[in-house]
Amino acid sequence: MKILVCIKQVPDMESKFKVAASGKWYDTADLAWRMNEYDEYAVEQAVQVKEQVGGADLTVLCIGGEQVKETMKKALAMGCDRGVHVADDKAAEKEPFEIAGIIAEFARDKQFDLIFTGMQSQDRGSAQVGVLVAEMLGIPSISTIVQFAYADGRIETRRELEGGVKAVVKAMAPALVTCQLGLNTPRYPTLPNIMKAKKKELLSLPVADLLKVDARQETTKMYFPAKKGGGLVLEGELGQLADQLIQILKEKTGVLA
């Protein structure tokens, strides 16, 4: 059995973001990097399937510059068998159709039985890549899964819908699923696995070999939302606070009118 899991390296969301000089993406200076949260669920689920069936071969794929190898090592330490690094210093400038095209081009002749991706990336958040890959490969996809079971080529998942409603969706392998929060708790890599990961195969492919599609959309501008009226924190004695509040409500609203 062959499994593919696609991951992305994203900035830590606690970082201070600035818009880059290009005005089309964020500035990458001063950022700390980590694995996209949803991709961690994907890796964990892929590793669980591998452990369940035994003898599966699990490939992790990541597109980006040299620095994404750090994040790939974590996936390898979590239990992926081999890494495919699509070397692309300009990955951030590519739109979801191009990214999906790269992945699909890589996966096309590999006969993966299962492909796991995150439901979306934490930085771009398009939620398109996974489903586009499935379309390009002509296999079924199930998005936003919060539960996953696999047996003898059958996949049974639960998808998260609006308002807490869940849907049970089944498919036959080969198929692609995109993983949502709640699917599992990603494991913390053990030290022996961290050490083993250092010796696992990590193949680098130039992006030019895999990029066969053209971009279909363009980011024209990136900006922070305009600041709306800020909150107001009142401080002081309780009695005075009440008076102040009444005053403000009278002056600025009509609720006491």
Binding site: D12, R34, T185, L191
Partner: protein, 661 residues
Amino acid sequence: MEFTREIYWNVGHGAATLVPMYLLFIIALAILVYGFRQRIAVYRQGLPLDRTDHLGERVVEMLKDVLLQKKVIHVAWPGLLHGLFFWGFFLLLIGTTLIVIQADFTDLLFDIKFLKGTFYKIFSIVLDLAGLVAIVMLGGLLFRRYVLKPEGLVTKPDDAIMHGLMLTILITGFVIEGARMAVTETGTPLAPWSPVGMAFAGLLSGAGEGTLLTIHKLTWWFHLLLAMAFIGLIPFTKFRHILTTSANYIFADRGPKGKLVSLDLENEESETFGATSLKEMTWKDIFDADACTLCKRCQDRCPAWATGKPLSPMTVVNQIGEAAFTAPDSQLIELIGKDVLWSCTTCRACQEICPAAIEHIGKIIELRRSMVLMEGEFPGDEVMAAMEATEVNGNPLGIGYATRGDWAEGLGVKTVGEDGDVDILYFVGCYASFDKRNIAVARSFIQLCQAAGVKVGILGREEKCCGEPMRKMGNEYLYQTLANENIELINAAGVKKIVTTCPHCYNTLAKDYRDLGLEVEVEPYTVFLERLINDGRLKVTAADLTCTYHDSCYLGRHNDIYDPPRALIRAAGGTVVEMERNRAEAFCCSAGGGRIMAEEKIGERINIRRVQMAQATGVGVLVSNCPFCLTMFEDGVKGAGIEESLRPRDIAEILAERIVK
């Protein structure tokens, strides 16, 4: 008349006495040796560990601890009972040995008698009183164990055997003496030199001489049998502590206090890290259980135990020993329990008070290491999140690393990268860098340094968590990663001295980092500031302040720094009203041992307990010296609903308010 007595009076000094007596002695010794050989084989299941370096010094320490009962009497009740019992019994042992030396060697072979004249009188009264003291103290210990029954004291059949045997040996000793004196000494000038013996003689005086001789002879043989039984029983009962606890003083950890053993993570051969089974613990970990006397001093002081958590340091130590003797293949983590192992705050109260020099913390950390490094397990998801946050941003709070130096804004402090010509490098730590409450402490410290004309540099955004909480939680890999990065930075900066405001950073940099190549001098801010004040470089006005002071575990017990912080408070015009549990007996704030990253889910909250202790002093300010303590106390006063009446503060803040401009 010559002041002496006939040794072997009434029992005879011929072969009919000596042969069976020495035969019994040899048998008893043989049993003792046999018993210990069996136990030594069990100790040897553990990994090797060298604890016989500096042997001469180790033996001297052992003699001090054994003969002076230093650690035992440190806790007066019931330590003094044991101490006095020990000294009484020890004198009796010396007395008996002197008798054997004279009767069976010097007199027998060379006609030399030394138990005579004034020396005999002293010998007589000393032994007489030693016996009395031993009986009274044993009575006290019996009363405590069987009548007072202190909470948590484990009483086993062993204890009954020990108390009964000791008491019978002591009383039969006096019966023998009394019977002999009733026949030979009553009314002689020697009699007053054995007052207790005379009292027993008085009790027996009604009997005729024939009866007395029979009583004497039978009791003498009975007493001898009991004494031999005592020797033979040593390895098989808690009597073994006479030898094992003494030996443990020799094998004691010689420090530095609170420095953990570094794992070799580069070794490609190792497949396991930390310990899950006895084979991965050291022989000392097994031996410690044999040295334990179940005195429960550790348990009495354990903040986890005191607040309803399942951890008793005493139980952990003994479970390891019991497994070694009964089920050597046990999985120790399951046996002891994960909640037990995660509950430890590494406050060192157990180890500091242990009269048997047992090392509790290292065992717990070894087992935690296995859970974290081999299984990726933590006490909760929040701890795993803090570990991951530290991997990404170098701090367990998960705040973007790039803002690490922002706290110093406006103070004119440069990084050592910008200007390496500094008097000290201030290793700030995560809480003083990112936590609003503790940033005030860091800023106060800078103001104090500037007032004293000390040029301070920081590492700024490049600084990473020292790794202490992660290490204590068992994550040696993350600790070493962080430590190596910090050490490389510090060494590159070429600074001569590091000062910390966090005692966890201090202990880690000053001790643990030595294994990884940091050699620069490290000092905690309390000691550093005290010197600045003493040298007249830092001037503060004394303004009235009545407060209580909390000894953090890592400045106090781990480093014995108790006086400098108090001197600083005095210099600031403060008066310290001590909490009942202060200095080496201080009660942890709950945040050590990496617990700062964990939610306290079991039992009562330790920090609330501690702020209540502070409140009980009746003062309005709780001064501490540690960012974790300050954080836990700020949280604790809210939890206890006493934030109006008790204000947690750091020493640096108190001093900074009093800087003479």
